[in-house]
């Protein structure tokens, strides 16, 4: 195992929270997102 001085899990969480902030979405909600709209059946 090599050592990389970067905590991927922490950076990921902060990255996600940053993206959500830009998109004006809460990073955690207690309501499910709406069901995706069905595209044309194949």
């Amino acid at each position: 195992m090599i050592t990389l001085y970067l905590n991927c899990a922490k950076v990921w969480t902060r990255l996600v929270r940053g993206v959500q902030r830009v998109l004006r979405r809460p990073p955690v909600t207690y309501q499910a997102p709406p069901l995706p709209v069905r595209k044309g059946a194949r």
Partner: protein
């Protein structure tokens, strides 16, 4: 007593498959270095800049007099590294590296010739640092082997405590919360934590897994004779896994990581879904006896365009087995290109459990290879296993998901079902020094009370700070070393510190859904835990059975110690206290037998029919601890 499995005295740096992958990676990097050096040596100024960026990412920008672009390259490389792990963007690092080559070629500018030796020095330092961290860690761990083997050969750990608990008020609150969460309509997820669905604390599939895993020991240990309420709750938790919002993340991962557009979440990789939910399926069947998911098409995924992917318990597990069999490493990926020891252990548990329930030999066909992979590819000299390995490069590092990126045991059953000898070694290693540490904490328990609070810490999704995981660890650790008084006191102290007094869709403990479910799992896994349940399979209950209508009544306890009487705990369900009498329905009584339901001010005669059934009307307006006893 069997001797504990010892650690290899001459451990290898890496197993054969990992060595091949790492050497292949080294060969590719060497090729890049040679190509870069050729450009540096033979090219003009622009080619030399590009070549230097091949030697060390972004170094060509230094040669071209653009240090800001060098810094930008390394910021982007760090981002690419995180996205490599996060969404399997394997192309990220090569892409950024390549862009730094192209950019250095095109950017022009003054020539800083000092950058040429600096580029080579940086490359040498980077490679040297990686080799040194690997070698230093390996040697540090290898040096411990004689001491650890001495410990393994001589340590005599206390047996774990496995009390048969009486459910308390918090158990009832947690059970009620879990039922309300699970029994809402299948397409509703009120109270679940939603956020990104790739990694970490907002992933709903894991919340569903953990809740299913937690309810299984509750069913077995507390209400084996009243499965009517918990069975649909556990069933719904599985059905919810087929909701498109839960599994559609896979299409993105498959596209990014495998360049494959197939949305089917079971057929390839994705063991963190197929293995985890496979394990959940087994535990559901082993705890409730229901074979509903054995029916063809009972687990059907419907994609956005109407395509369906039909599975059942058996075909699901066949897919997991096929993934194991076609994996070069022996462990198959979660996210494309990343094989986790934890997920592959849970995937193994899934095959094992299916075999126990159905008499198949899925696990047998992969068991030997699984063990070889675990012991040769993932085992480190000190008995830890690497959490993660890239199936493309063979590299492992601490990604921040688990302390140190390694663990002595993993899976949810700590190898107890898959490899008992490895489990015992891992147990000893992980509990080294724990009896002494927890013994000091146990000394603080006075009259069953642990008068302390734990500091709160951020949850992984950073939604809140909580002390619950800390308490969960103490309870689990205390039970693991037989300190049941401490475990019980810690449980009460944790409840005292963390109880919110709230009900679904809020949470009865001040913690997120995933960590609450893991707390419930630990809390309820006694005397039977899920490893024992996976080995045991389904065993029908003996003695009287009972059922009552949810949500009027919550049954918290229903078990028979002697096969004739019944210990029963009931309390008002979420629809409120039943001042009017509600019906308790009994079955499996002695035909035409006479019983008496007594306790907490209740005394009701119960006469069984010729079929061994009976009903009793009762006002469940408060928690009632009852006993159904045979009248002689």
């Amino acid at each position: 007593m069997t001797a504990t499995l010892l650690l290899p005295t001459a451990p290898r740096r890496m197993g054969p498959v990992t060595r091949f992958l790492v050497l292949r990676t080294v060969a590719v990097v060497l090729l890049v270095e040679v190509a870069g050096s050729v450009l540096v040596a033979a090219g003009g100024a622009d080619a030399r800049a590009a070549g230097l960026s091949l030697v060390f990412p972004g170094a060509g920008f230094l040669y071209a007099g653009h240090p800001e672009l060098f810094v930008a390259t390394w910021v982007l490389l760090s981002l690419a590294l995180v996205l490599w792990w996060g969404i399997s963007a394997h192309f990220g690092i090569p892409l950024v590296w390549g862009l730094s080559v192209l950019g250095a070629w095109l950017v022009g500018g003054p020539r800083w010739h000092w950058a040429l030796p600096v580029g080579y020095v940086l490359a040498a330092v980077a490679v040297g640092a990686l080799v040194w961290t690997f070698e230093a860690r390996f040697r540090r761990k290898r040096a411990k082997v004689p001491m650890l083997n001495e410990y393994l050969a001589t340590a005599d750990l206390p047996e774990p405590s496995r009390p048969l608990r009486e459910p308390d008020d918090m158990d009832a609150e947690l059970l009620r919360w879990a039922y309300e969460l699970a029994l809402q309509p299948l397409d509703r997820f009120d109270g679940f934590e939603w956020g990104e669905q790739f990694h970490g604390g907002t992933v709903v599939r894991y919340q569903l897994n953990y809740l299913g895993w937690a309810l299984a020991p509750y069913a077995v240990n507390y209400i084996p004779n009243a499965l009517g309420q918990i069975e649909p709750a556990m069933r719904n938790l599985v059905h919810k896994q087929t909701d498109l919002r839960v599994w559609r993340y896979w299409r993105t991962l498959n596209l990014v990581g495998n360049f494959a557009a197939d949305p089917d979440p079971i057929v390839r990789d994705n063991i963190m879904f197929s293995g985890f939910t496979g394990d959940q399926l087994n535990l559901y069947e082993a705890a409730t006896g229901s074979t509903v998911f054995d029916q063809p098409g009972s687990l059907t995924f419907v994609w956005e365009d109407g395509r369906t992917f039909e599975y059942d318990h058996h075909s699901w597990m066949q897919a997991v087995r096929r993934n194991f069999e076609r994996s070069r490493l022996g462990f198959f990926p979660c996210e494309p290109g990343w094989s986790f020891a934890a997920c592959n252990t849970i995937g193994g548990q899934a095959l094992y459990g299916h075999d126990r329930l159905h008499g198949t030999d899925l696990w047998g066909s992969v068991a030997e290879r699984w063990r070889t992979t675990l012991e040769q590819e993932y085992l480190m000299p000190d008995g830890n296993y690497a959490n993660i390995r890239s199936t493309h490069t063979g590299l492992s590092w601490d990604t921040g998901e688990t302390p140190g990126g390694e663990y002595f045991t993993t899976g949810t059953h700590s190898f107890k079902d898959l490899a008992p000898d490895i489990a015992e070694r891992g147990r000893k290693l992980s509990l080294r020094g724990v009896p002494e540490k927890l013994g000091k904490l146990a000394a603080l328990v006075r009259d069953g009370d642990l008068a302390m609070e734990l500091p709160v810490e951020w949850e992984r999704n950073r939604a809140r700070k909580t002390a619950v995981p800390g308490w969960t660890k103490i309870i689990a650790g205390a039970r693991a070393v037989g300190l049941e008084d401490l475990a019980a006191a810690a449980q009460r102290a944790g409840d005292r510190q963390c109880a919110t007094g709230q009900v679904w869709p809020e949470r009865p403990l001040d913690v997120g859904v995933a960590n609450m479910a893991l707390h419930m799992l630990v809390r309820w896994s006694t005397p039977v835990d899920n490893a024992m349940l996976n080995v045991r399979g389904w065993v029908p209950p003996v003695g009287p059975l009972v059922d009552a209508d949810w949500p009027a009544v919550l049954i918290t306890l229903a078990r028979s110690a002697d096969g004739r009487s019944l210990d029963l705990g009931v309390r008002p369900g979420p629809s409120g206290p039943a001042v009017d009498a509600v019906e308790l329905r009994f079955a499996s009584l002695t035909p035409s037998g006479h019983y008496r339901l007594i306790g907490d001010g209740v005394a009701v005669d119960v006469a069984a029919s010729a079929e061994g059934t009976a009903t009793a009307a009762l006002a469940v307006d408060r928690p009632l601890r009852l006993a159904l006893e045979v009248v002689a």
